[in-house]
Amino acid sequence: MRIIVCSLFLTVLFNVSAYAQDLKNDIGSISENENPSLSIGIVDPGGEIVSVDAFGLVCDFCATAIEKVFMRKNEVSGLNVSLADHQIIIALKNGEHLDDAEIEKLITDSGYNVKSIDRSIASN
């Protein structure tokens, strides 16, 4: 009985996986001419946008952790975490700044690691 249950489950599991279509979601993607869409908060006009590529972001608990930790900071106006792109978009308030070392510390203290930080994105 156990072998049958196990075999049936694994068969269903791998068939569903093989035929299911991946859902792609463009939340957090940035084109050159538009502000990023955020999962929480807003893009403050004139505020700095920081893009962070991170290691270890695999599930909603990870994304929730990053969101909660950064949204506690007064400098942050909004945020997006993309699991597909392993990317964190941080929107800062106009006139506020978070340096790379502080961003890296917040991410490391949350249990994740930074791959790179990009500050070349400007908000409109």
Binding site: M1, R2, V5, C6, F9, L10, V12, L13, F14, V16, S17, A20, Q21, D22, L23, K24, N25, I27, G28, S39, A54, F55, G56, L57, V58, C59, D60, F61, C62, A63, T64, A65, I66, K68, V69, V81, S82, L83, A84, H86, D109, S110, G111, Y112, N113, K115
Partner: protein, 212 residues
């Protein structure tokens, strides 16, 4: 006493989903777990992302005893990859076990438990293993281990509904049924995680986790 505990458990839903026993800094986690052996309610606080302290309450259905314990979960090591994560945890607890069944009627013992758990996951695949040893004098002396494998049939973004199909194998050398298989469906979105399944012993398993 037993009725109060059962009401609490039913209120919160029912089993400790053992995935991710430590949360992000200054976060609370509430968990319920119910399977053929026990009902568990667990609440813990994570001062940092590397350890959590909290309260663990259990009711063992067949042996009819309760455990109330303070527990600590430590993230001993995390490996973060690009699109993957692996963890190694130590979990310990100490408290009181109370039995109101048979020869141990109205009997209270000091209880201690410890165990290791490890997991590896990507957005598509999940593997975990955990073991646990519980001792409470004459009331219980129990070792058990669980292995879980899962796959996500589709990939969803943060905040969308994530669905996982999982199979759990539970091995308890001292149990009547030493090996129990439980196919599970995991539904996961934001701070909420729910698992439900029916074992080959026809016992329902229902787990729920919420992070604050």
């Amino acid at each position: 006493m037993q009725n109060i505990f059962l009401i609490i458990v039913l209120f919160v839903c029912c089993t400790v989903v053992q995935a991710r026993p430590v949360s992000y800094p200054q976060a609370w986690t509430a968990t319920t777990f119910n399977d053929g052996d026990r009902h568990v309610f667990n609440a813990h606080y994570s001062p940092t992302a590397f350890y959590a302290i909290g309260y663990n309450a259990e009711y063992w259905r067949d042996d009819k005893f309760q455990i109330h314990a303070l527990h600590m979960n430590n993230l001993l090591k995390r490996w973060n990859g690009e699109g993957s994560q692996a963890n190694f945890y130590l979990r310990t607890g100490i408290g009181a076990a109370y039995s109101d069944e048979g020869e141990f009627d109205d009997h209270t013992e000091l209880v201690a438990f410890t165990g290791l758990s490890t997991d590896w996951e990507t957005r598509r695949y999940f593997l975990s293993y955990q073991n646990r040893y519980v001792e409470a004098g004459n009331i219980i002396d129990n070792f058990s281990q669980r292995f879980k494998i899962g796959i996500a049939p589709y990939l969803a973004e943060y905040g969308s509904l994530h669905t996982w199909l999982m199979l759990e194998v539970r091995h308890a050398p001292e149990a009547d049924d030493q090996l129990v298989l439980t196919p599970l469906v995991r539904l996961f979105s934001g701070p909420n995680l729910l698992e439900a399944g029916v074992s080959d012993d026809r016992d329902v398993q229902f787990n729920f986790v919420h992070r604050f």
